[in-house]
């Protein structure tokens, strides 16, 4: 086996033992049963305090924003968050102080939109324990878990402080003698992935890039799928090559139209940059941000309430046009009868 040359000092927040994961997956239901339920119920039942949480999508793209709001609204606490390509999701969960441990690949930032002032305050507060990784390192950890093995090697992270603050190990290849970074498998207790379409059993498909969601779905012990729309099982069976997540991975199916708002959902709606800016602006002063959260998250019963506050169908239609690059301001032609 590998000789271990060095190891990171970071904490390992989850158990990489493949047999323990197999024992869990052994008792998971395989039958085709109707798993449709309101998001409130799914989060209430499947997201337990202290769980390791994974969130699908990339940045604010095809991210299950509605589920993140619900986790905050239900005041879930002490979660371990998988900070993999996370932007608006981290921002929301940091606002709720929902997690106190975090595996980091990318946090706090919203790419070119700038940094979230509140997420930064929370991350610098000392209330959160961190371990450093990279996007591909966490992808490999999830891939190992999806494969059912306890680690995978990579040629990244080597030689850096990222390694020192990770929980990876440095090992020698038994074939070539070259050094590899070894990444422990990561089986999240619960993950949420937002998709375009799913049937009532949880067979699910999405359009566009997969990011790391195929691996995340297979690595997760429990999985909530939120979807733009429910489709009939016949639709799934008519085009099985389009199915990306099979039902036996899924514990709950929640129909949440516009569930990635104010993020981007490919083919459906573009990101609402005005509203995302409102988040960043409101965070500058803690008191102002509290009022913002009270209004937009705690003060609404569900995500539909949030959508209404943000302009409802009218705003969504503008974002639809933007996603499809339809120029609504193009001059109208004269009509000659």
């Amino acid at each position: 086996m590998f000789d271990i040359i060095a190891q990171g000092e970071g904490p390992l927040f989850s158990d990489p033992d493949a047999d323990k994961a197999r024992a869990f997956f052994r008792q998971k239901k395989r039958a085709l049963t109707n798993k449709v339920m309101p998001l409130k119920e799914a989060v209430g039942r499947f997201v337990q305090d202290g769980f390791y949480l994974g969130i699908g999508g990339f940045g604010a793209n095809r991210t299950p924003v509605a589920a993140c709001h619900e986790i905050v609204r239900q005041k879930k606490k002490n979660l371990i968050f998988c900070g993999h390509t996370s932007t608006h999701d981290y921002q929301i969960l940091a606002a709720g102080e929902s997690f106190n441990r975090c595996d980091i690949a990318y946090i706090i930032g919203l790419e070119i939109r700038g940094l979230s002032p509140n997420a930064r305050r929370y991350s610098e507060s000392g209330k959160v324990q961190f371990c450093e990784w990279t996007n591909y390192a966490l992808a490999l950890r999830l891939k190992a878990a999806a494969m059912g093995v306890s680690y995978l090697p990579g040629r990244n992270v080597l030689g850096t402080d990222t390694f020192k603050r990770s929980a990876a190990k440095l090992g020698k290849c038994p074939f070539t003698g070259k050094l590899y970074c070894l990444f422990p498998a990561l089986w999240p207790d619960i993950s949420v992935i937002h998709v375009h379409e799913a049937d009532v059993y949880g067979n699910a498909r999405f359009d566009g890039i997969g990011v790391c969601d195929l691996e995340l779905a297979r690595a997760s012990k429990r999985l909530i799928v939120t979807c733009e729309r429910l489709i009939h099982n016949d639709e799934i069976r008519r085009a099985p090559s389009r199915t990306l997540i099979p039902h036996f991975l899924v514990d709950a199916v929640c129909e949440v139209p516009f569930g990635a708002f104010p993020g981007n959902m490919v083919g459906e709606y573009f990101s609402d940059e005005i509203h995302l800016k409102q988040w960043l602006e409101s965070e500058k002063e803690p008191a102002g941000f509290k009022a913002f959260l009270d209004k937009y998250v705690y003060g609404v019963g569900d995500f539909e309430g949030y959508l209404e506050l943000c302009g409802g169908i009218k705003r969504i239609n503008q974002l639809r046009a933007e996603e499809r690059m339809i120029d609504l301001r193009a001059p109208r032609g004269e009509c000659h009868a």
Partner: protein
């Protein structure tokens, strides 16, 4: 000479480095604008890859995120993170194009913390895909303003590997052989690396600046290329495409 701001200058100069037919893993921020401009001028067949999964998009609007739908508009493939990073690890990606808060003389990059890791002065986003790209891609390109707070003797934290502590260091720790930092594009100069020492050197200086300007805005001793040339200034065409087609919303060039 047309008027331009700092960010426009950096993006234009950076865009010229990518040659047609090459492949590049592109990070968020200024690199996005530079690779999109390159695609419109000198490198229409540039194979642009985004860590979230987009391969070879025809970008008609600048992505706001390296994973939004514009990042795979009319793309050849909507793939995923493992496929992209493994293409890099396999040796099929020529360049990566990155930003970064701090850089040292060996091209090591910090985007994790300013100050001490345990109690940082500022917590930053972390690696994202930067460490992966910087480990795997053959040549690392960095865009960053020339500023002594960014060009430092010692970065607070090595997030992504440059030449680490000098010649041979990358290979010694197991990073792929023959990969490493290539150019740094700033608002004053194009910097490269000395072949022997792997230390940063000035290779080309933009109009209106001289070596001492670059050195005075750098926290470590810079080397000089045998011949330092003058960077051709941005042309009217480059600036026009950048402003009108690449970043009309000013997400990147509005910060100049």
């Amino acid at each position: 000479m047309p008027d331009f701001n700092t960010m426009e200058l950096m993006v234009v100069v950076a865009s010229r480095i990518l040659e047609n037919g090459a492949s590049v893993g592109v990070g968020t921020g200024a690199p996005l604008a530079a690779s999109m401009l390159a695609q419109k001028i000198n490198a229409p067949d540039l194979v642009i890859m985004f860590e979230a999964g987009g391969i070879s998009p025809v970008m008609c609007r600048m992505p706001i995120s390296v994973g939004d739908s514009r990042s795979y508009n009319k793309a050849l493939m909507a793939s995923g993170m493992c496929d992209i990073m493994e293409s890099c690890q396999r040796g099929m990606v020529d360049y990566t194009f990155l930003g970064g808060a701090q850089i040292d003389m060996y091209g090591n990059l910090n985007s994790t913390v300013i100050g001490n890791w345990e109690k940082p002065k500022a917590r930053l986003p972390g690696s994202g895909g930067a460490n992966d790209f910087a480990s795997f891609c053959w040549r690392i390109l960095v865009i960053t303003p020339q500023d002594p707070r960014r060009f430092v003797e010692k970065v607070s934290f090595i997030t992504s590997p440059g030449y680490l502590d000098g010649p041979g260091a990358r290979e010694k720790v197991g990073l792929p052989e023959g990969s490493g930092p290539h150019k740094v594009i700033t608002n004053m100069a194009i910097l490269g690396y000395d072949e022997e020492t792997k230390r940063m050197r000035v290779e080309s200086i933009h109009q209106g600046f001289d070596f001492s300007d670059v050195q005075n805005n750098c926290g470590f001793q810079l080397m000089k290329a045998r011949q330092i040339v003058e960077t051709p200034p941005p042309t009217a065409q480059e600036l026009d495409l950048l402003r009108r087609e690449v970043d009309p919303e000013g997400y990147i060039i509005g910060k100049g």
